[in-house]
């Protein structure tokens, strides 16, 4: 990403410009592109209320897929369904089919703990544990049986480097993570997720609580990780979606209205609703 990009990100946050942003051409990822997550007539309910309606979509591996749409349209609900985070809400249930690597996510025999290990998640508000930086990163590996201190140290360093945080915190790994700045905390959360070596990374508005500078860093990070992980990012910010993603899904009132390559969706939307939304006629 260039300095220009960063500047425009700052501007976007500050003035909420309504111009359509034309995304740049993006290189294809070698070895990627197989359907990693597949939704077939997939609906999600809170009690009687249908929050996500009969979604059909293939999410392609190794690419970045953005989910946009107005507040309350079901973006988070859909994202959290993929690693079964919605299990925490007792009233929440699903119909239709959702597959991960060809396996039924909501199948009777599916182990949601194993699933979550493979599908990591980063939340809107940075949520490091009230533990040391080291213990935060090592939490996952320890959980899955790693006890050797050397191995742990190696994986902590690797994860922090991947999350572009190593240089900033390498000298204070034993300090409490809550002492970090918001942006650092969010990258720590990414690193924590990477430490369990997931296949998919779900990001739910990861920058909405951050200042522009920290936002830029996270966006850079997503670019770094593109190609190694399948990434899905929910965002309110269309500029962000166009900057970081290869594909974009537009949700409206629980329905998947349009799903296309990002460049195409932003330059040449097929649906009136999509066009209205990206041109800022409603939000």
């Amino acid at each position: 990403m260039t300095a220009e990009h960063k500047e425009s990100a700052v501007e976007a946050q500050a003035t909420a410009t309504r111009d359509i942003y034309i995304p740049s051409e993006r290189a294809s990822v070698s070895g990627g592109g197989r359907p990693h997550v597949v939704a077939k007539d997939f609906s999600i309910y809170y009690g009687d209320f249908q929050a996500v309606k009969k979604v059909n979509a293939d999410i392609l591996s190794q690419y970045v897929t953005a989910i946009i749409g107005p507040s309350g349209c079901g973006k988070s609900t859909f994202l959290r369904a993929i690693n079964r985070m919605n299990d925490l809400i007792p009233s929440c249930h699903t119909t239709g089919m959702l597959q991960f690597d060809g396996e039924d996510v909501y199948g009777k025999l599916t182990d949601e703990v194993l699933l979550r290990k493979k599908i990591g998640m980063v939340f809107q508000k940075p949520n490091p544990f009230p533990k040391s930086i080291f213990d935060n990163i090592a939490y996952g590996p320890r959980l899955h049986g790693m006890t050797d201190r050397k191995q742990l140290q190696a994986i902590v360093e690797k994860s922090l480097r991947k999350a572009a945080l190593w240089d900033e915190v390498s000298d204070r790994l034993d300090r409490n993570a809550l002492g970090l700045s918001g942006g650092q905390q969010q990258r720590l959360c990414v690193a924590r997720t990477l430490a369990v070596e997931p296949e998919i990374l779900l990001l739910d508005e990861p920058t909405s609580a951050l200042d522009p500078k920290a936002t830029a860093k996270i966006e850079d990070l997503i670019q770094e990780l593109r190609g190694s992980y399948t990434i899905m990012i929910v965002t309110h910010n269309m500029q962000q979606a166009s900057r970081v993603s290869d594909y974009t899904m537009f949700f409206y009132e629980g329905e998947l209205v349009e799903y296309a390559e990002t460049a195409q969706l932003f330059t040449n939307p097929k649906d009136r609703m999509t066009e209205d939304y990206i041109t800022g006629r409603f939000s």
Binding site: M85, L88, R116, M121, F123, P130, Y139, L143, C189, V196
Partner: protein, 448 residues
Amino acid sequence: MNLGTRKILDNSFTAVGMGSIVVMALALLVVLTPIVYNGVGSVFFTGTIEHRTMLYKEFGRGDAKAIETQTATADRYRAEAYRMLSDFEQEMEGMSLEASRQYRSKYAPVRAAMSSLLGPLPGDPVPMLTRFQYGQTRWEKAEEKLHNILYEKKWDYSDPTVMAKAFDVPRAEEFAGTKLAPLFSYAERHLADMMQPQFTVYWGFFTDRSLDAHIFGGIWPEIQGTFFLAIGAMLFAFPLGVIAAVYFTEYAKEGFFTSILRSANSTLAGVPSIVFGLFGLAFFINTMKVSESKSVLAGALTLAIMILPTIIRAAEEAILSVPKTYKEASLGLGSTKWNTIVTVILPAALPGIITGGIISLGRAAGETAPIIFTAAVSVGSAIGIADVFSSPTPALSWNIYNLASEHEMASEIRHVQYGMVLSLVSIVLLLNLSAILLRAKISQKLKG
């Protein structure tokens, strides 16, 4: 509302708030001052030679040489008083029958008061009870007894239609002209010589066993019993309470059964403690037969049941106040629910859980009613850790009550009672203080 009234309202609220804080502080002061003042008096006081002799004979402590010389001096002065007594006794032999009878009935209280001040008089057999084997061990008590020697408290019953008034009659007048007459001024002049008062620091009050039902000695068995009971109750109630709280907050499905459990828990928290005492007797001792008689174990179990609701509630609050995001983060990393609870939720909730626990610990230490029928005895020696399953124990809360209301010599040993109260208050304060420190330390660690 205009600015003027708003300001007046604000100011008057501040004034009322400050006022109530001051009132509370004053009330606390009024309650605590006598406790501290009198309680400290059980350790720091002016002791007489009788106190030092008692300590030496009963506990084998003290400076034998110094005691010997002081006793010798005291005995020199006492001998003079004893001589006056025996002279008078001889004098009475020679009196007319009527006169001697009159004097004898007046003399008996003098003799009793002397023996109460100085211990057994020459010629008296050694009493069986330790309490009568020594004179007054505390100077202020000695002065009180001197007053009993010098004056007879009489009531004027001449008019049966009004309540009588008390008046003091100097005994020196009653025995004027006899060989006993000089005793009174002698005793007054030489009280200090006969008693050898000395500033005394009696740390043994906290570490000695009690002697002759708390009349002498210390309160160690009570202190130890209090710790045993409180800590024992904690050992049962804390893990159980935390597990129950985890169940309520993380596992229980909202429904009829859960709401029944919840309201049972709240109701239990409001049940008077004597009910727990009776329950403990009926259930743990008579039904379960956890021990043959009252025991620390039965008492600790009863106290545990009593504090359980408080611990559950505190732990529930603490767990619920842990941000949901911690749980999401942990589950998102592929952690199981149980693992999340143990490694993330409980550590984050720990300060709140511990606070609830230690407040309950203080309550367990202070409660009387639950242990009356299950663990507490008025007299018993300090027990070893191995005996907690079978032996009952004295405990501060119960023995304070016992000394205040049931002890046959309650008015003579108020200092012991105050010493126990101060010890109990200190223990509870200490526990609460350590709770605050521990909590601060853990919170600090969590905050980073």
